[in-house]
């Protein structure tokens, strides 16, 4: 049986752990609200952008002169996986879920004889992926200095990806991130960004015929790189919200577990304290009886 002093220090240490997890939970809750706000603010832009791009892609997509970003390079031999994770841990299965999805995809592509290249955004994903796929690693974007994701950050990532595409380094790009559903549920998602994959606009009779100024192809050539940035931006925002949500529920669990543990340890502490007292009494009584 552990002695009383050990138990007491143990209880103290669990208590301070609980304080930390509680604080982290509250910080995550506050940050979550901010992250959700900015994700919501960005939604109108993304929605409209995709609607316009969908309409444009539908009208230009069939022609041979369609930009490569839209129609692809004509092959799907080399895949670039852009894995976006958090910079920090202690957020439950958030990072490992994304990494797992990416790893499965990579294994699948390699088994199919494709070439896989991996670009990571966020330190945790890099660590997880590097273990298995160090040879396929082509780059890393450091986000540790970024507190609130701004559009310019997404543009940076997009520029990196587009430069690689222009240099012919890959044919297909897919981003991996976590979609925010609510605090307890975040869905790791894979989304193809190059060639662009827009939902076709719903065919209703009232679809408007637009004039394009300059012509459709010039607009498309101008907008497609922005589309990549926009998709990366919205993925980063979703990821930010998911990370905080995951951390919040993970820390909530940790706080509760710490509470349970304190209760258990306190009972054990009281029991052993009583046992010590009983022992002492027995000693005194049997000493007195022996006289």
């Amino acid at each position: 049986m552990p002695n009383l002093k050990d138990l007491k220090t143990r209880i103290e240490s669990v208590k301070s752990t609980r304080k930390i997890t509680k604080a982290m939970q509250m910080v995550a809750a506050a940050k979550l609200r901010r992250a959700q706000d900015s994700a919501e603010q960005a939604r109108p832009y993304t929605e409209r952008f995709n609607a316009v791009m969908g309409a444009l892609a539908a009208s230009v997509g069939g022609s041979d002169s369609a930009p490569k970003l839209l129609s692809g390079t004509g092959s799907d031999q080399t895949h670039l996986l852009v894995v976006m994770t958090a910079e920090r841990g202690l957020c439950g299965g958030f990072n490992s879920n994304i990494a797992k999805l990416a790893r499965n995809k990579a294994a699948e592509l390699i088994a199919a004889g494709k070439t896989v290249k991996i670009l990571t955004v966020g330190k945790k994903g890099r660590d997880a992926i590097k273990r298995d796929y160090a040879d396929h690693f082509v780059g890393h974007v450091d986000m540790s200095e970024v507190k609130n994701v701004a559009y310019s950050d997404a543009q940076g990532v997009a520029k990196d990806v587009l430069e690689r595409f222009d240099a012919g380094e890959f044919d297909v790009a897919t981003i991996f991130y976590s979609k925010f559903v609510n605090v307890v549920s975040q869905i790791p998602t894979a989304q193809q960004i190059i060639p662009a994959d827009f939902d076709a606009p719903e065919e209703d009779g009232a679809s408007t015929l637009y004039d394009y100024e300059p012509d459709e192809e010039a607009i498309l050539a101008d907008l497609l790189p922005r589309g990549v940035a926009t998709q990366i931006f919205s993925a980063l925002l979703e990821n930010g919200a998911s990370e905080q949500g995951a951390r919040m529920s993970a820390m909530d669990n940790a706080t509760r577990n710490a509470g349970d543990m304190i209760d258990k340890l306190t009972i054990e502490f009281n029991r052993s304290r009583q046992a010590v007292i009983t022992n002492e009494l027995i000693e005194i009584i049997s000493g007195a009886e022996a006289l």
Partner: protein
């Protein structure tokens, strides 16, 4: 009362304005144009410039740095970056011009087509003279 149309100005980070307006002057890539209710549907790209919004409560001006406008039932302007005119100080504008210049240098270094990047710089500087802010 003049006829109005729905107008939305959104940037990737937030939505700046949404509401009924009577006319909007758009700095299109091929030249300025003014969108009014019942205009024919147009999609145009933007150059850096000033967006003048005539609403019921008067004129509001925004500086946009690029993006595109979709004019259909209503008008939506999706700007890469949009700032209320009052927020654009000499400092902010200098930052934008420097960014454009850096992009130009990058294109020059890669022996790319400098026309677009050079135009961007010129447009940025032109924005300054239009809103009466000088670039240092």
């Amino acid at each position: 009362m003049a006829e109005t149309m729905q107008f939305d100005l959104v940037s990737p980070e937030r939505s700046l304005m949404s509401g009924p307006v009577t006319s909007v002057q758009i700095p299109g890539a091929d030249g300025d144009m003014t969108a009014m209710p019942n205009h024919a549907p147009v999609i145009t790209t933007l150059r850096p410039g000033v967006l003048k919004v005539e609403g019921e409560s008067g004129t509001t001006e925004y500086v946009v740095t690029g993006g595109f406008a979709e004019l259909g039932e209503g008008l939506s302007v999706l700007a890469e970056r949009a700032l209320p005119k009052a927020d654009v100080t000499a400092e902010v504008l200098t930052g934008l011009v420097d960014e454009a210049k850096a992009a130009l240098e990058a294109v020059k270094a890669n022996n790319g087509a400098v026309d677009d990047a050079a135009k961007l710089v010129a447009d940025m500087i032109a924005v300054g003279s239009e809103i009466g802010v000088s670039v240092s």
